[in-house]
Symmetry: C2
Subunit: 82 residues, 2 copies
């Protein structure tokens, strides 16, 4: 059982209202000098062998379903720790 991690983050040029809200909340709690951007993390358990074809398929699926590539960038990688 292989595990693939897909990180989806707002593109740098895109405003990130969630991240801004978290940054503000941290400041109000006394945590200064931080700037937060918020995205999504998907942990995908893959049945069977994880070969290049399967990984390409996952990249395609991420682009179609997990990320909105107009405003988000994504990164697909194999979780070696598992």
């Amino acid at each position: 059982m292989a595990r693939v991690i897909v990180d989806v983050m707002p593109k740098p040029e895109i405003l990130d209202p969630q991240g801004k809200a978290v940054t503000g909340a941290l400041q109000r709690l006394g945590y200064e000098g931080l700037s937060v951007r918020q995205g999504k993390r998907f942990e995908i358990e893959v049945e069977g062998e994880l070969d290049q074809t399967r990984l390409d398929q996952l990249r395609e699926a991420s682009e179609k379903l997990l990320a909105n590539t107009v405003i988000e960038q994504f990164d697909v990688r194999v979780d070696e720790g598992n």
Copy 2:
């Protein structure tokens, strides 16, 4: 400028309806044999030097604000690639 990554994921024993929905949607798109869990990823730019005190502070902030530790687990790490 250091960067810290905080990953927040639903605890293994907790149901994850978002992840279940994504798993189902992937199946309907023809991507079989996948099981998805969905969480959050925070990228935090830290002004100034990132020492142990600052990192402990960030861990405390994550526990207070970024994760709901009743149902979520979190991981704080320095992004070495930056």
